[in-house]
């Protein structure tokens, strides 16, 4: 039956090519359906990837303590009324916690950073030596500052990869000086290059200072948080413990609400998953809708095709085509329209994925592409089966007489 199969493909393709405009118009629903599902998949794959990167940058084993809750729904003035985080908490937490492996106080604010005649506005961070353990980035060149540099208030800084490119352009920055809000700092290290966080903003231009110097010079503005590294597998226990310790530090009575928040990447995940559901849901809705509409269109055009070719059906039956063969021929035609349309949709999605890739790294998922084409095949079968059945059951004598 292989020769019949190829014959059917040949007939189908020539029927599709003979009615190009009609086939394209008919296939638009399928094209849109396949396009939307694959583009959606591409978007989600890209989001997944950049989310994973960003999450590993934040660290799944880090607790972030600050005044505000990520994705919380507190009023700004409530947050504002909470007491600030203090760098002294670091010592207290280290003393009392059995889970905390590293505790860094991180103060952050915006500042003007300059070198010779170049300058840029960026974020500066004041922190302690535990900081490197709470981020996933490594030192690319030079070294991080030491405890004694921190205590003595040395004006040294570790700069982001971007600042090195901006200011030093290939030259060795170690030992050179940069000015942060007008104060001279000696560069002692450079961080390796980092991706953008959630594809949104880059931290490559940051400058990290010892807390000692930072608090003396810049602590009037900006905010403070604590980053605590804990064993990833015990993060929930650790969170409970840190929570208790924080309440003790703050001296909160049992009934009083927390005046701080402990955040972890899980908060992002929850938020992200609902975003993903929204994108996926919308894409799926468009897909299903356009496939249903497209399928109805194809069914319609197949009825027309059967009508137009009644005589051909009669001739084919007279020269020996069985019902099954006629059924197969028309079913193949419907499938061909759908699969060709599916492939067109897929190509469009493939082209679009290049543009999406420019916004954030993503790939057209192979599995989904195959599924999408398979899906259009199924639409072809479903929408083609009734017209094909009708064609197969035409009476050969009547069909031969059909004008």
């Amino acid at each position: 039956m292989l020769s019949l199969f190829f014959e059917n493909i040949r007939i189908s393709l020539s029927a599709v090519l003979a009615n190009k405009t009609r086939s394209i118009l008919t296939g638009i629903g399928i094209i849109i359906g396949v396009f939307s599902v694959t583009v959606m998949g591409t978007l989600i794959s890209g989001l997944d990837r950049s989310f994973e990167n960003s999450m590993s940058w934040l660290g799944k084993d880090i607790l972030y303590i600050s005044r505000y809750e990520w994705f919380g729904d507190m009023e700004w003035w409530e947050v504002k009324n909470r007491p600030r985080m203090r760098t002294q908490y670091v010592r207290k937490i280290k003393e009392r916690s059995q889970y905390a492996m590293a505790v860094a106080a991180v103060m952050q604010r915006g500042a003007m950073v300059a070198h010779e005649n170049k300058d840029t506005r960026t974020q500066i961070f004041g922190t302690n030596t535990d900081y490197m353990e709470t981020i996933s980035t490594e030192i690319d060149q030079g070294r991080f500052f030491t405890d004694s540099e921190d205590r003595s208030g040395s004006r040294v800084t570790v700069i982001g990869h971007g600042l090195r490119e901006l200011f030093f352009d290939g030259q060795d920055p170690i030992g050179k000086h940069i000015k942060i809000d007008g104060v001279k700092f000696r560069v002692i290290g450079v961080l390796e290059k980092q991706g953008k966080f959630l594809g949104l903003f880059s931290v490559n231009n940051q400058a990290i200072l010892p807390l000692g110097a930072y608090s003396r010079l810049f602590s009037k503005r900006g905010f403070t948080r604590l980053s605590i590294k804990v064993p990833e597998k015990m993060i929930d226990d650790a969170k409970d413990e840190i929570h208790t310790i924080m309440r003790q530090i703050r001296g909160l009575k049992p009934r009083v609400k927390d005046d701080f928040a402990i955040n972890q990447t899980k908060a992002f995940e929850t938020q992200y998953n609902s975003l993903k559901m929204a994108i996926g849901g919308t894409g799926l809705f468009i897909t299903v809708l356009s496939l249903v509409v497209g399928g109805i269109g194809i069914m319609n055009i197949m009825f027309v095709s059967v009508k137009e070719r009644t005589r051909e059906i009669g001739v084919r039956k007279a020269i020996g085509a069985t019902k099954g063969m006629i059924l197969g021929q028309f079913l193949m035609e419907a499938i061909t329209i759908c699969v060709v349309a599916g492939l067109v949709g897929l190509s469009l999605a493939y082209i679009s994925s290049f543009f999406i890739n420019k916004i954030f790294p993503s790939t057209l998922p192979l599995g989904l592409s195959i599924l999408a084409v398979f899906m259009s095949l199924i639409v072809g079968v479903i929408s083609g089966i009734i017209p094909s059945y009708q064609a197969a059951n035409l009476d050969p004598i009547d069909s031969l007489r059909y004008e």
Binding site: G314, A321, L400
Partner: protein
């Protein structure tokens, strides 16, 4: 054994409560290598008889044996198979597929017979050469004259090497010169040993046949040998 045996064939339609006897007790035996013309006015039942012989239709009652196979009890698939293997149709309006080349048109019965591509191409080109269209194989029907189209149709009917060729008014849509060419082809095929059944209402066409039957009101009224 006779090639075709029709015994007491009835085909009865019910149109608006009225009984129409399209075939009313037909008995007919056709031997191998006969050239038979079926004649009769319109409504006489000659089309019904042709459809019956061509296995496109089954009788209401009666027995139809084709080379010993019981056609009257066959289902659709068996009928399709016997049409494919044993019957070559030639129609008044040629009924070629307009978008297919001459060669592809001739190939189609072979596709349904599940013959492989290479053999199919060979058989198709043989059949086209035998009707004098060896040089027109890749032309589409709209690039061919009426006579040439009908020759393609004959090649299609011949491609499966059928037991009978069933031609329904094959010259009806042709000018007399092309019609004569087509009849000449039938004559040659008959001489080569083919069995040909021709439906016509023109006496001078029926003259080509060696045997003629006339139908009237679903009954055979005349059956005589005349030809060479």
């Amino acid at each position: 054994m006779s090639l075709i045996v029709l015994k007491d064939i009835y085909k009865i339609y019910h149109v608006g409560g009225e009984e129409v006897r399209a075939l009313d007790g037909v008995d007919l035996t056709i031997e191998e290598n006969e050239y038979l013309a079926i004649m009769g006015p319109s409504g006489s039942g000659k089309s019904t008889l042709m459809n019956m012989i061509g296995c496109l239709d089954t009788p209401t009652s009666g027995i139809y044996e084709f080379e010993g196979e019981m056609v009257h009890i066959m289902d659709d698939a068996q009928l399709a198979s016997i049409r494919n293997r044993k019957i070559g149709f030639v129609f008044q309006t040629f009924n070629l597929l307009p978008k297919a080349t001459a060669q592809h048109n001739v190939e189609i019965p072979l596709v349904y017979a599940n013959i492989g591509r290479e053999e199919r191409l060979q058989l198709a080109s043989n059949a086209l050469t035998s009707v004098g269209l060896g040089d027109r194989m890749h032309h589409r029907p709209n690039e061919l004259s009426g006579g040439q189209r009908q020759r393609v149709a004959i090649a299609r009917a011949l491609s499966n090497n059928p037991s009978i060729i069933l031609a329904d008014e094959p010259t009806g849509n042709l000018d007399s010169k092309s019609g004569d060419e087509i009849l000449a082809i039938f004559d040659t095929l008959y001489e080569k040993g083919h069995t040909i059944i021709l439906v016509t209402h023109e006496d001078n066409i029926a003259k080509h046949a060696q045997r003629t039957i006339r139908l009237f009101d679903g009954k055979i009224t005349e059956d005589f040998y005349s030809g060479p």
